[in-house]
């Protein structure tokens, strides 16, 4: 045997991991891509010298921010790479980073860190595999701002009753708390059902005393299954069967999400919204969930909220993105230790007339249980019309 043959056979059994299994490496790149998208691409890509970045680091140092040593010394890409690795490893989940602020010297990696951990946790989750004839069952707690709102005499800048220049009467808003249980056909072709139970109306500090609950708090809403006749393009959207058709690798998934905008918001905002929509009240395959968090990490403009309680009162860490249209931050909340996805909420980032001051939680969902069941519950429909399955052609 000659030397090259011997060499070729040496360690030939070593295999390369697939991109999806190179999670750490991939997150590193995606975080950089994401940061670059915010910082202005062409200038940064032009070469190894990035005066803005170094200057930013120096500013950070002056302000006493703890920064990996390598970044301060690092004028080479290699040192910078090491610094990013260090920052990712050292990144405290509780550190409130301004993600959009690399130019301002703030570290940008915390969103990537939180979502990277979330992706790892999601990918490692064990999950039942529903048959097409089964149902995905999700129970959750849901709060939303209710009431009649609209105290027009109250200036937007001073929405509370006690603020100067504001009408003395408190806003007719309060918090409505629901329990939700949903049964969704895994295939999408069978009828499902949603049960909501209005639990209570909570008074807000600046709001009026809510009226007592009246009527039957429990509602059953039949969810029609899709008709298989109209479904030439694969499984019905929103079904588990549909989710398993989505690409799970972040770049492909990102492309898919950006191509299939489910609404008219600006592109990045819509992508953030759509990711929340895909995660909500659904059994999301582990790899897809991981991919969704990785894609979320690439959407510019996200920030970390170190303390975010979900609708069930569980404390969590959140990543948030400001939505100018609603004046609220849309947050994805994770368990601060396991990084399991807990739920979402929407929090006013500025005072909004008729709703409340900055910090008001206008919408919140906490996912409590996700499982697979074979039967729908027996119920009396509180809605009109028959419960229809998909029907056949």
């Amino acid at each position: 045997m000659n030397d090259l043959q011997e060499l070729t056979e040496m360690r030939a059994e070593v295999t390369g991991r697939r991109p999806a299994d190179l999670h750490r490496a991939r997150s590193l790149l995606l975080a950089e891509i994401s940061a670059e998208g915010r910082a202005g691409p062409a200038r940064r890509a032009a070469g190894a010298r990035r005066p803005g970045r170094i200057a930013g680091n120096r500013r950070a140092e002056r302000h006493g921010r703890i920064w990996p040593r390598a970044a301060l010394a690092g004028t080479t890409a290699v040192a910078a790479a090491a610094a990013i690795t260090a920052a990712l490893l050292a990144g405290s989940p509780g550190h409130p980073a301004r993600s959009g602020g690399r130019a301002g010297g703030a570290p940008v990696l915390t969103v990537a860190y939180v979502l990277g951990r979330a992706a790892s946790a999601a990918a490692a989750a064990h999950q039942p595999l529903p048959r097409p004839d089964q149902f995905v069952y999700v129970s959750s707690v849901d709060t939303e701002l209710g009431g009649s709102g609209g105290d027009v005499t109250c200036p937007a800048s001073a929405p509370t009753a006690t603020s100067a220049g504001c009408h003395a009467e408190p806003l007719q808003v309060w918090l409505t708390v629901h329990d939700r249980r949903i049964w969704l056909s895994a295939s999408g072709y069978r009828a499902g059902v949603l049960q909501t139970v209005e639990r209570r109306l909570e008074k807000l500090p600046w709001g009026a005393t809510p009226p007592p609950l009246t009527g039957n708090p429990m509602q059953w809403m039949p969810l029609p299954g899709a008709s298989s006749c109209l479904n030439l393009g694969g499984p019905p959207r929103g079904s588990y069967a549909f989710l398993v058709t989505l690409p799970t690798a972040a770049p492909q998934l990102r492309t898919w999400i950006y191509w299939h905008k489910n609404g008219g918001q600006p592109t990045d905002q819509q992508a953030w919204t759509d990711i929340g929509d895909l995660l909500r009240e659904m059994l999301v395959p582990p790899k897809l969930a991981a991919g969704l968090f990785q894609v979320a990490a690439t959407i510019p403009g996200a920030t970390v909220v170190p303390h975010a309680a979900d609708a069930a009162g569980r404390s969590g860490i959140a990543v948030a993105r400001y939505d100018p249209a609603s004046g609220a931050n849309a947050e994805l909340i994770f368990d601060p230790h396991t990084y399991k996805f807990l739920g979402e909420r929407s929090v006013l980032a500025k005072p909004v007339r008729g709703e409340g001051p900055a910090g008001t939680v206008i919408e919140s969902t906490a996912q409590l249980q996700v499982s697979v069941v074979s039967q729908l519950p027996r119920y009396t429909s509180s809605a009109q019309g028959a419960v229809t399955g998909g029907g056949t052609c």
């Binding site: 011997e6 390369g16 490496a25 969704l184 909501t196 191509w259």
Partner: protein
């Protein structure tokens, strides 16, 4: 209650796109499958649309990982892959569009990153040469007894690899394990093809001497045969 509030999300149909949206998402050939654009096109595109670079990762990460893992073991290899693509991403503005495939370029960067772990790499070759057990090969449950003890030739070769200069070793392993042509190796290492040839000749001569002479038996290190 408003019906739209109570229906689960997903019941609203999402229309398939009739036309590609704006540039940020319109990678050539993008969609469900792999983009068909060549690496050079994607890299050029990524200068203004950084996300396009993620496709480069997905195309080449496995191969680069295998190469790095063969030299350094699985664990360090992932760091190497991470650093390699980070550096590549930052240098993408200077990518030479004359090369449609980014493979040699990525191998070149990876080789530099591997060189930073020279001590670990050499330590592994020495361990293999001395004990016949290769620390780079993972065995289930890490059961030493279950590991196959390498033959004498393998151990001699490892001893030779440990003694090569960094440049010679990089060149030899890039060709043998990276499976790149001499021309690609030259472009990866940024040296003339003639230099690749002379380094290969030197490295291979040392490897042959080790194999023929049974380097492992004449080594100063005590061996366990």
């Amino acid at each position: 209650m408003d019906e739209s509030e109570i229906l689960p999300r997903g019941d609203t149909p999402r229309d398939p796109p009739t036309a590609p949206p704006r540039a940020s998402a319109s990678w050539p050939g993008a969609g469900r499958g792999e983009s068909r654009a060549d690496d050079a096109t994607l890299i050029a595109l990524s200068v203004t649309d950084p996300e396009a670079f993620a496709v480069i990762f997905d195309r080449h990460a496995t191969e680069i990982h295998r190469y790095a893992a063969r030299r350094l073991g699985d664990a360090i290899a992932e760091d190497v892959v991470g650093e390699t693509f980070l550096v590549a991403f930052r240098r993408r503005g200077r990518y030479d569009p004359a090369y449609p495939s980014a493979r040699p370029w990525l191998y070149g960067i990876a080789t530099n990153m591997i060189s930073r772990h020279r001590q670990a790499e050499v330590r592994f070759y020495r361990a293999l040469a001395r004990t016949g057990v290769d620390p780079v090969i993972e065995s289930p449950a890490d059961d030493v007894v279950a590991r196959v003890t390498a033959a004498g030739e393998r151990r001699s070769l490892a001893a030779a690899l440990a003694r090569l200069s960094v440049a010679d070793r990089n060149t030899l392993l890039l060709v043998a394990w990276g499976e790149v042509s001499y021309g690609e190796a030259a472009s990866a290492l940024r040296v003339p093809v003639g230099t690749v040839r002379s380094r290969l000749n030197r490295a291979r001569r040392k490897a042959r001497e080790a194999l023929d002479g049974g380097l492992i038996h004449s080594a100063e290190e005590p061996d366990h045969e």
